[in-house]
C-alpha cells in the first residue's frame, strides 16, 4: 500500500472502529428485548432447533418512547436548552471573536490563549467550581450580602439559570474559535468601502461583516448546539433534579433502570434528530467553499 493510501485509510479505520462499530452495537441493542441477565438484553439472533436462525427485531422500545411523554418532553426540552444556549453563545461570543480578530497581532495571541486556557482544566472541575460560586453560601451570594445588595442568599444553584451559565461557559470557546478564524480572514477595507458608500458603522457591520461571517457563525453554532442537546454532566450538576434533559434520561435508563434497549433507542432517536442539522451544515459549507468567497 502506498503512503498516500495509508493516509486515506487511517481516518476511515478510526471512524470504523470508534464510530461505526459502537453505533451498530447500540442500534442492535435498541432492537432487542430487555432481559434480567448480563448484559441485560436478549440477543437478536437465536438458533432455533438445529438448522434455523431466528431474527427477533423488537420495535417496542421505540414505540415505548412515544407512549411515555417523558422522552418526548426531555427531547424537546434538550433542544430548547441547546437552542437558547447557542443563541446566548452567539450574543456573547460574537463580540469576543470580533474583538480578538480586530485586536493587534500581539494582543490577539494573548486573547486567544485566554479563550483556550480553561481547557487546561477538566470540565468536571470547572463545573464544580461553578457550584462553589453559585451555591447558597457561595462566593457570589457572600459578596452580594457583604455589599448589602441583597439581604438573604439568592437561590441560583439547581435552577435553569445555573444550567445555562454552565453550558454557555463550557461551550463558549467552541463558538468563538471557528468564528474567530472566519473573521480573521475578513478584509476590513470592505467596511471602509461600505462607509464610503454611505453606511454608518453599524450598517456596515450588518450588511458586510455579518453576512461574510455566516459560515463562522454556523460552524460555531453547530459545535455548541449538537453536543449541548446531549449534554448530561452540566444539567445534572448545576440544573438540579428538575432539569429534564435527554442525556439525563439516557443515563437514568442505562444505569438506574438497567433498561439498555430503551436507552439505546433514545440514543438512536437523538442521533436521527441531529443528522439533518449536520447535513444542512455540510451542504452550506460545501456550497460556500465551491463559490470561494
Amino acid at each position: 500500500m502506498t503512503g498516500r493510501g495509508l493516509v486515506v485509510v487511517l481516518p476511515y479505520l478510526w471512524l470504523m472502529l470508534f464510530f461505526v462499530v459502537p453505533f451498530v452495537i447500540v442500534l442492535k441493542i435498541s432492537f432487542s428485548d430487555i432481559d434480567l441477565a448480563i448484559p441485560p438484553y436478549k440477543p437478536l439472533l437465536e438458533w432455533v432447533g438445529k438448522n434455523s436462525l431466528a431474527i427477533k427485531i423488537n420495535f417496542n422500545n421505540y414505540a415505548f418512547l412515544f407512549t411515555d411523554h417523558l422522552y418526548v418532553n426531555a427531547l424537546l426540552n434538550s433542544i430548547k436548552v441547546a437552542f437558547i444556549s447557542t443563541v446566548l453563545c452567539l450574543f456573547i461570543g460574537y463580540p469576543m471573536a470580533y474583538g480578538i480578530a480586530r485586536a493587534k497581532p500581539k494582543t490577539r495571541n494573548i486573547l486567544l490563549l485566554l479563550v483556550i486556557l480553561p481547557f487546561w482544566t477538566s470540565l468536571l472541575l470547572r463545573v464544580y467550581a461553578w457550584i462553589g460560586l453559585l451555591k447558597g453560601n457561595g462566593v457570589i451570594n457572600n459578596v452580594l450580602l457583604w455589599l448589602g445588595l441583597i439581604h438573604e442568599p439568592l437561590t441560583m444553584l439547581f435552577t435553569p439559570f445555573a444550567m445555562y451559565i454552565g453550558i454557555v461557559y463550557s461551550y463558549l470557546p467552541f463558538f468563538i474559535l471557528p468564528l474567530y478564524s472566519n473573521l480573521e480572514k475578513m478584509d476590513w477595507q470592505l467596511l471602509e468601502a461600505a462607509e464610503d458608500l454611505g453606511c454608518r458603522p453599524w450598517q456596515a457591520f450588518y450588511k458586510i461583516t455579518l453576512p461574510l461571517s455566516r459560515n463562522g457563525i454556523l460552524a460555531g453554532s453547530m459545535l455548541v448546539f449538537i453536543p449541548a442537546v446531549g449534554e448530561f454532566v452540566i444539567p445534572a450538576l448545576l440544573g438540579g433534579p428538575n432539569a429534564l434533559m435527554i442525556g439525563r434520561v439516557l443515563w437514568d435508563e442505562f444505569f438506574s433502570n438497567r433498561a439498555w434497549p430503551v436507552a439505546s433507542a433514545v440514543a438512536i432517536l437523538l442521533l436521527i434528530l441531529l443528522v439533518p442539522f449536520m447535513m444542512w451544515y455540510q451542504s452550506v459549507q460545501t456550497r460556500e467553499s465551491a463559490g470561494a468567497r
Binding site: 462607509e195 464610503d196 453606511c199 450598517q203
Partner: protein, 379 residues
C-alpha cells in the same frame, strides 16, 4: 505622453487667482505619534481636474487621500469641499467616494448589487437605482457581467466594477488609490485612457494617488509631488518634468543627469556654472535667483543630450566621454557615457533609422546640449 484634454486643463483655473477652488486643503497636518505622515500641506484643486498625488511609498500621499475621504481626521488644519468644511465629517456623510487599491468589492454580492449598494443606502427609488446602475455598467462595459460575483471576474473587470461603484453616486470628488496598480502593463495603459474618457464624460473631479510617474503624467491635469509628508511641487506634468523646482523632483520624475557646480557668472539673461563633476562649464540661457558663488545643480534630461563622434562647436555645454554601456529598447537606446571625471552620464537617443551607423561600446563620443536645456536648482 500627452496631457488629457479635459475641461480643467483647457481652462487652467489654477492660473486664475479669482477662480474658486473646489477642494481646499488648508495647512493640514496628520501625526501618528511622533511621526508626521502629512506635514502642513496646503492644496487647491479645481472642478473637473484630475489631480495626481505622486510620491514614493510612505510619503504621506495615501494618508492625505484618506483624510479627503474622511477615513482619517487631520491633527490640525482644515479640508473644504465645494466650500463646505469637511474636516470632522465621517465618510458616510461626505459627497466623496473612493476607489480602493484592493477594489474592496463585496464578495457576497454580484456586480450589479455591488454597484447598487451606495444608491440603496441612500434610499434612491428602485426604478432609478436600476436605471443608474445599468447606465454605469454600460459606461464601464460590464453590462454582460452584471450577475457575476467578484471572484468570477478578471483584474481589469474588477477594477471597472470598483470604478462604477464609486461613480454611481455622482460624488463631487472621486478619490482613487493606485487605481491601476494591480493591472498588468498593457491593460494599465489602455485603462488610463479609458479613465480619462470617463472622467471627461462625467466631469467629476478626481484625486489620484500613485507612485507610478508615468501613470501620473498620463492621467493628471496637475501633479503634486510629495516627499516626507510635504508637497514639494505642484504643477502640470510638463511643468513638473521641464521645470522641476528641486533636485528631488527632477530626480523623482523621469531620469536626469545632475551636475553639481558653482555659479561663476550670474547675469539676468544667462548664468554660467563651473562643474567639477562635469569637467567643464554649463551655460544656461536664463537667469536664476541665487547668491553668487552659490552651489547649484544643473539638471539635464537624457533625451536633451546630443551625442556625436565629431566634436561640436563651442566650449560650453560640451564634454567628451567613453561609451560604457548601451541598452537597446527598440524605440530608443540608452547610452551610459563615462566622463574623464568618473561621472556617468545617461543619454537617450531615438532609433530613427534602421541602419544608423551604430555607436558601440568604449567609443569616444562628444556630448552636448542646448543652452535652454539645463534646469538649475538650488536645493
Amino acid at each position: 505622453m500627452a496631457t488629457p484634454a479635459t475641461a480643467a486643463v483647457k481652462a487652467q483655473p489654477w492660473k486664475d487667482p479669482a477662480a474658486r477652488p473646489y477642494v481646499q486643503v488648508d495647512r493640514v497636518t496628520k501625526s501618528f505619534g511622533e511621526f508626521k505622515a502629512v506635514d502642513d500641506v496646503s492644496l487647491k484643486i479645481y472642478k473637473g481636474e484630475i489631480f495626481c498625488l505622486l510620491g514614493a511609498s510612505g510619503c504621506g500621499k495615501t494618508t492625505l487621500l484618506r483624510m479627503l475621504g474622511g477615513f482619517e481626521t487631520p491633527t490640525s488644519g482644515k479640508i473644504l469641499i465645494d466650500g463646505e468644511d469637511m474636516t470632522g465629517v465621517p465618510p458616510y456623510e461626505r459627497p466623496v467616494n473612493m476607489m480602493f487599491q484592493s477594489y474592496a468589492l463585496f464578495p457576497h454580492m454580484n456586480v450589479e448589487q455591488n454597484v447598487a449598494f451606495g444608491l440603496k443606502q441612500d434610499r434612491v427609488p428602485k426604478a432609478e437605482i436600476a436605471e443608474r446602475v445599468a447606465t454605469m455598467l454600460d459606461l464601464v462595459k460590464l453590462s454582460a457581467f452584471a450577475k457575476r460575483k467578484p471572484h468570477q471576474l478578471s483584474g481589469g473587470q474588477r477594477q471597472r466594477v470598483a470604478l462604477a461603484r464609486s461613480l454611481v453616486k455622482r460624488p463631487k470628488l472621486l478619490l482613487l488609490d493606485e487605481p491601476l496598480g494591480a493591472l498588468d502593463k498593457k491593460l494599465r495603459e489602455h485603462t488610463q485612457f479609458e479613465l480619462i474618457g470617463i472622467q471627461d464624460k462625467l466631469g467629476v473631479t478626481f484625486v489620484v494617488v500613485t507612485h507610478d510617474q508615468e501613470e501620473a503624467m498620463t492621467l493628471a491635469s496637475r501633479i503634486g509631488v510629495m516627499n516626507h509628508g510635504e508637497i514639494v511641487q505642484a504643477g502640470t506634468p510638463s511643468e513638473i518634468y521641464e521645470f522641476p523646482s528641486s533636485k528631488f523632483v527632477a530626480d523623482f520624475v523621469g531620469s536626469v543627469n545632475m551636475f553639481e557646480g558653482k555659479l561663476i557668472e550670474d547675469e539676468p539673461e544667462y548664468v554660467r556654472i563651473a562643474s567639477e563633476e562635469l569637467g567643464g562649464t554649463i551655460y544656461v540661457s536664463h537667469g536664476i535667483s541665487a547668491p553668487p558663488e552659490a552651489t547649484v545643480w544643473a539638471a539635464v534630461r537624457p533625451e536633451k543630450i546630443f551625442m556625436s563622434t565629431a566634436p561640436p562647436e563651442g566650449t560650453d555645454n560640451v564634454v567628451r566621454g567613453a561609451v560604457q554601456d548601451i541598452a537597446y529598447l527598440g524605440d530608443l537606446s540608452i547610452y551610459l557615457v563615462k566622463l574623464p571625471t568618473g561621472k556617468v552620464v545617461r543619454v537617450t537617443q531615438p532609433n530613427t533609422s534602421r541602419h544608423a551607423e551604430a555607436i558601440t561600446w568604449d567609443q569616444q563620443v562628444y556630448l552636448c546640449w542646448d543652452a535652454t536645456s539645463p534646469v538649475v536648482v538650488t536645493r
